[in-house]
């Protein structure tokens, strides 16, 4: 069965969605990710959706759910690389994902995670927001 790989980078987990999401794959990712966070005591999750061309309300809700679950497990979620068409679709669907943090690309997402997780993990810090 196909799975979306979850990579560990220091205190962060990196998920890069490179295939079209279908509902079962999304549920599988939700399961895998929550157990990985618990296993590795990760402090941050970075989800790269730059290759995702289509979303429906289910996938949109799932992104929100993953962020909420990670927060319960004390990990910050950042969604990066959303395409303009996907963003417009989600807004039209009424899903503004207000609980999810976003960034333009992986680099900026990493900076955001690094600043919010806090100093001490040895990574280069970008400019602070506010």
């Amino acid at each position: 069965m196909e799975r979306i790989p979850i990579l560990k980078m220091g205190e962060c987990l990196l998920v890069s969605i490179q295939v079209d999401m279908h509902d079962r794959l999304a549920m599988q990712l939700q399961d895998d990710l929550t157990s990985r966070i618990a296993d590795t005591a990760a402090r941050g999750v970075l989800i790269d959706i730059s290759a995702l061309e289509m979303v429906d309300s289910f996938i949109g809700r799932m992104l929100g759910n993953i962020a909420a679950m990670s927060r319960v497990l004390d990990a910050e979620t950042v969604v990066v690389g959303m395409r303009p068409a996907v963003a417009i679709t989600l807004v039209e669907l009424g899903l503004s994902l207000s609980g999810v943090r976003t960034a333009l690309n992986i680099e900026k997402g990493m900076e955001l995670l690094a600043t919010s997780i806090g100093a001490g993990n040895g990574r280069v810090h970008g400019p602070r927001f506010d």
């Binding site: 395409r83 963003a87 503004s96 333009l104 690309n105």
Partner: protein, 289 residues
């Protein structure tokens, strides 16, 4: 009975073509509705004679006077062409319709001159009235249609003109909105903005609504949608250029703008954006004289 009417009329027009044409053009030039400042007499003469011969051919071959028939295609396309060119030249609808309606009098005169008995005269007159009226209506309709197409084109052009996205600094985009925001425009604005965010990798976008005359709940909702879409892409939005009246309207309408940073002027918004990026503008120290 009606079968004999139209060929008879066609023959009448053929026999007296020059008389009718001369009278018709004289009438058109004399009438106040003809705008000699907008078109030349030779152009008018050309249009009139083309139309008259097309009408004759159509009458000759279609006794039922069915406008949908192909024999009327010539007449219709000619009328549409004339209406369109006149609409573009600035003729009013009644000025355009006068082109067809002024043909009535010369035709009546010709029928009267060639009439054999009262019954056929009445029949001919009635047929001419019906035909001319329908052609006149068609002209007005065509005139209106071409005017509408002009309006549509202008709307399209305005839409394309009025949504520039400008880069104010590395990482800071500004979107000066001018005019009312409807859903179609919001869609264009949103797409342009998101596309530019991707291209420039900007993390802050300033929506300046100084040029938006009124903000109602719908406009506010469109603004919030744009802000939400930009946020999903990872860019923060600042709304600036909120005039005092608009601030009052927003509060009275109960629109919730708490989730967005708002500033009174574009300069304020730009300052905030610079601060968020850790940048600042400083005065250069004057070299000692």
């Amino acid at each position: 009975m009606i079968e004999t009417v139209t060929p008879r009329l066609a023959k009448l027009i053929r026999d007296r073509e020059n008389d009718i044409l001369g009278q018709w053009i004289a009438l058109q030039t004399a009438s106040a509705e003809t705008r000699r400042d907008l078109m030349s007499e030779s152009e008018l003469r050309q249009q009139s004679s083309d139309f008259l011969s097309a009408l004759r051919r159509a009458l000759d071959s279609d006794p039922q006077i069915e406008f949908g028939n192909t024999v009327w295609a010539d007449v219709r396309s000619l009328l549409a062409q004339i209406s369109e060119s006149r609409a573009r030249q600035g003729f009013s609808p009644s000025e355009t319709a006068m082109f067809v309606f002024s043909l009535k009098q010369p035709l009546f005169a010709a029928v009267q001159a060639g009439a054999k008995d009262a019954a056929s005269l009445a029949q001919d007159t009635w047929t001419i009235t019906t035909v001319i009226d329908r052609l006149g209506l068609y002209t007005t309709e065509a005139h209106q249609k071409s005017r509408e197409s002009v309006i549509m084109r202008q709307q399209q052009e305005m839409m394309e003109l009025s949504t520039p996205v400008v880069t104010m600094w590395e990482g800071i985009l500004a979107l000066p909105l001018i005019g009312t925001l409807d859903s179609a425009r919001t869609q264009v604005v949103m797409e342009n903005l998101l596309q530019r965010i991707v291209e420039t990798g900007s993390s802050i976008a300033i929506l300046d609504i100084t040029g938006v005359p009124t903000v109602d709940t719908l406009v506010a909702q469109h603004l919030l949608k744009t802000v939400a879409a930009a946020r999903l892409m990872g860019a923060d939005c600042i709304i600036s250029g909120i005039r005092p009246q608009i601030a009052q309207t927003i509060v009275h309408l109960g629109v919730d703008l708490n989730s967005v940073t708002t500033k009174a002027t574009l300069a304020d918004a730009f300052g905030t954006a610079l601060r968020r990026l850790g940048l600042g503008i400083a005065k250069q120290p004057q070299p000692a004289a």
